[in-house]
Structure formats: structure tokens, C-alpha cells
């Protein structure tokens, strides 16, 4: 199979983010997208713990414990940044002011349901953080994930078996094998990185549209 590497997938996602967009990049792999946003595209990063205009991770002397991102990693501030409190920050998300939010996922359904906060394991200690807010927190919510688990099961599914984070909230799924559009109309392949439609249908077990 032709698989895009994580950095290449991050690059692919970055290319789809519109000029001038306000963007929230979820914890984990989505953070990589930041490395591929050219400066001249004027993309502003939001971190839900209260900042617009977030810069790259802080290094050495730049590390300031009062300036962290949602993953609690020290970051930097770009010119034109602004700080606000948690209710204002999540109001900004909930109010649909962010253009794009990129999230990781355990599963996404063809209708755009998202499961990314809890594996449903009976002994798991639940922790949701901002996941459910991010799921409904942008004009476009995109998922970045491998299409298949290590066991070869599709993470794009007819119906999520894991506990949901949000209902019908995801519009696009970027995976290592292909890019999908999901929603009320079901799943459509927007771009394959090598696999045929039939092969993608076989791997996912879903009647994908082309």
C-alpha cells in the first residue's frame, strides 16, 4: 500500500487550509500541521487555553511556564497575539469563529460522527478535556488519522463503536491512504494516495462514493 508518512499527511492537510484562516490544531499528530503552514498564508493558530496568534514551540530561554498550549507544551507568542479567559476561548470555538479544527480520532463514521475521547474500556479513567468542544468548535472539523488500526481494522466506519465525542461534526478525514469527505450524504473519496476505489472499499468495508 502507498501510505503517506505523518509529515507528508500534515503537509497535505496544511495545503488545504485557506489563506487567512483561524485554526485550532488538536493535541498529538495534528500539531505537526503547524510545521507546514507557510508564513505568507497568514494563518492564525488558536489554543483553547486562551490565545490567538500562537507561535512555534518554545525552546531554551523562550520557555515560559505562563505560556503553554492545550497540550501543556511551552509555546511562543507571535506579533498580534491576544489572550483571553477560558469562557471566552471556548465561546469563540462554540460560536463557530474558527475556520478549521484538525483532530485525531479513534473512529469516524461515514456521517461524520467522531469518537476520539474514550476507548470505552471498562477500567479506563475517563477524561474528555476540550475534545467535545473542539468537535463542534469550528466551521470545518477535519480528522487526521491512519485509515487502519494496527490490526487492519478500518477507523472509518459505518457507525462508531467507541463512545462518541460529537455527532455529525466531521466534514473531512485525512488518512495515510486517502482523503474522504463525510457527512449526511455518506463517505466520498476525495483523493487516494495510491489505492484503487475497490481496494479502499475492501479495506474499509464501506460503499464509498468516488
Amino acid at each position: 500500500m502507498t501510505r503517506l508518512s505523518r509529515p507528508d499527511l500534515a503537509k497535505r492537510i496544511a495545503a488545504d487550509i485557506p489563506v487567512g484562516a483561524y485554526v485550532n490544531l488538536g493535541i498529538g499528530a495534528p500539531t505537526l500541521v503547524a510545521d507546514y503552514l507557510p508564513e505568507d498564508r497568514n494563518i492564525t493558530l488558536h489554543t483553547e487555553n486562551g490565545m490567538l496568534g500562537m507561535g512555534p514551540a518554545a525552546e531554551g530561554d523562550q520557555i515560559d511556564p505562563d505560556l503553554i498550549n492545550a497540550g501543556k507544551i511551552p509555546v511562543t507568542e507571535l506579533p498580534g497575539a491576544a489572550y483571553f479567559h477560558h469562557a471566552d476561548s471556548f465561546g469563540m470555538m462554540r460560536g463557530g469563529h474558527l475556520d478549521v479544527c484538525v483532530l485525531g480520532a479513534f473512529q469516524v463514521s461515514v456521517k461524520g460522527d467522531l469518537a476520539n475521547w474514550n476507548t470505552g474500556a471498562p477500567d479506563a479513567i475517563p477524561a474528555v478535556g476540550g475534545a467535545m468542544d473542539l468537535a463542534i468548535g469550528a466551521k470545518s472539523v477535519w480528522v487526521m488519522m491512519d485509515l487502519l488500526t494496527k490490526q487492519g481494522e478500518s477507523k472509518l466506519v459505518e457507525q462508531c463503536s467507541y463512545p462518541l465525542t460529537g455527532v455529525g461534526c466531521v466534514s473531512r478525514v485525512y488518512t495515510d491512504l486517502a482523503v474522504f469527505e463525510v457527512g449526511a450524504e455518506g463517505a466520498t473519496v476525495l483523493e487516494s494516495f495510491g489505492e484503487s476505489m475497490d481496494e479502499l472499499r475492501r479495506l474499509t468495508g464501506i460503499d464509498l462514493k468516488g
Partner: protein, 239 residues
């Protein structure tokens, strides 16, 4: 002039009773009222409900309060962290109650308490297990869950500067839950790096007006500030 300055963290927390609901500010280390949490541990009140984004890290601070068996219930968004072993153990042993709230709903419920809102419809959490048993409603084609305010007896927060009227400013992302928690508690205690004279905080830039603050305690510049590494422009101008 009346002053809200408290001589010590222990004076500021003297009134906390057993069974109280305590909000604790901070997101990770940023904005965490370290000295106030330590003072709460010393203060002795038990059977507490703690409202905070996290449920303690490592063995100090909030984790130590939990370990001492002083907390009956935690209302938070993200209890599980790499080093939340104290909470994890208590939770698995059934010794602590957890109300898990999506982070934005947590912030909005706290804000609602401060703003006198009796309840609000939020889209966050709709259709998930965290909305089970809650009233839902479709408004203009979108699905919402009804959430209610979270009030507290005390809010313990950390800010950057205060004056003796209790006006507060914050520093960068340490602002986080401070302003909404200050508005939602019967008594708000703010620890600040420095207390400055009344009139020296810009009225346009005060984030928490003194009306929301009961006690202020000066705890001194934190190490990364004391080092001079991050002196702000305003203070350079002042110096």
C-alpha cells in the same frame, strides 16, 4: 482605604468549612495557585468538592489534598494525566466521586454562575455519554444539551498583579479559568506575584475587577519571573 490584602495565605483561607465547594484555577501549571493549594492542605477542611480543570499531578498540590482523603468529589474535564496516579488510585478504589464535564461546558457553567444565568443550552456533548440523562432540545436545527451553573464557596486563583481593591491582571495563558472562577464563588482568594498601588493598573486592562475578589495575598515573583527573563515592556518602562 479599605484593603483586601490578606497578611498570609492561611489567613485568607481560614473560613473554609468542611463540605465546601472549592474552585481551583489553572490549566496545568499555568495559573495554578500553588501556595493557596498548599495552604488549603494545611487548613484542614475536609469532605470538599473541588472544581478544577485537572485532578492533580504527581504527589504535591491538589494530588496531596486528594491523597489526604480531603476531597469527596471532583468536577473537572481532564482527571487522567500521565502522572495523575493519586486520583487514578482513589477513583479505581471508588473513594472519590467524579463529575466529568467537557472543558468548554465547565468554563461556561462557571461563567453562568457568576453571571446569574440559571441554565443554558450548549451544543457540546450532545449525543454523547456525558449528556446522558440531561435535557436536550433542537433550536433552529441544531441540537443542544441543557447545562446548569456551578457555584462555589471559595475560588482559589492565581494572578499576576493586584491592587488593594482586588483588581487583577493575569499573565499570558495563565489567565485561563481565573476570571470566571473569581465571579462564581462566594469568596475569592487571589494569590499574586506582586501587589501594586491603587491607580497603577490600567483601568482598560484590568481583567478581574475587585468586586469579584475577597482576599489578595502577595506570594512574590515566581522563579521564571524573578530571573528577569520575561520582564514585560510595561515594567521596563516603569523601572
Amino acid at each position: 482605604m479599605l484593603s483586601k490584602i490578606s497578611p498570609s495565605v492561611s489567613d485568607a483561607l481560614a473560613g473554609i468549612a468542611d463540605g465546601a465547594t472549592i474552585m481551583i484555577g489553572g490549566f496545568g501549571l499555568a495559573g495554578q495557585p500553588v501556595e493557596l493549594i498548599d495552604a488549603l492542605l494545611e487548613q484542614g477542611a475536609t469532605d470538599l468538592t473541588v472544581v478544577s480543570n485537572n485532578a492533580g499531578n504527581g504527589d504535591h498540590g491538589l494530588a496531596a489534598l486528594l491523597a489526604a482523603g480531603r476531597v469527596r468529589k471532583v468536577i473537572c474535564s481532564f482527571p487522567r494525566q500521565s502522572d495523575s496516579h493519586v486520583f487514578d488510585g482513589l477513583y479505581r478504589a471508588g473513594k472519590i466521586e467524579l463529575e466529568l464535564v467537557p472543558q468548554g461546558n465547565l468554563a461556561e457553567r462557571i461563567r453562568a454562575a457568576g453571571a446569574g444565568i440559571g441554565g443554558f443550552f450548549t451544543p457540546t456533548g450532545f449525543g454523547t455519554t456525558l449528556a446522558e440523562g440531561k435535557e436536550t432540545r433542537t433550536i433552529d436545527g441544531r441540537d443542544y444539551v441543557l447545562e446548569h451553573p456551578i457555584h462555589a464557596d471559595y475560588a482559589l486563583i492565581s494572578a499576576y498583579r493586584a491592587d488593594q481593591l482586588g483588581n487583577l491582571t493575569y499573565r499570558k495563558t495563565s489567565r485561563n479559568f481565573g476570571p470566571v472562577m473569581a465571579s462564581a464563588a462566594r469568596v475569592t482568594v487571589a494569590q499574586v506575584d506582586r501587589i501594586v498601588p491603587v491607580g497603577s493598573l490600567d483601568p482598560e486592562s484590568i481583567i478581574t475587577p475587585g468586586i469579584f475578589v475577597t482576599h489578595v495575598v502577595e506570594t512574590g515573583d515566581r522563579p521564571w519571573i524573578a530571573s528577569g527573563q520575561f520582564e514585560t515592556e510595561a515594567e521596563e518602562a516603569e523601572a
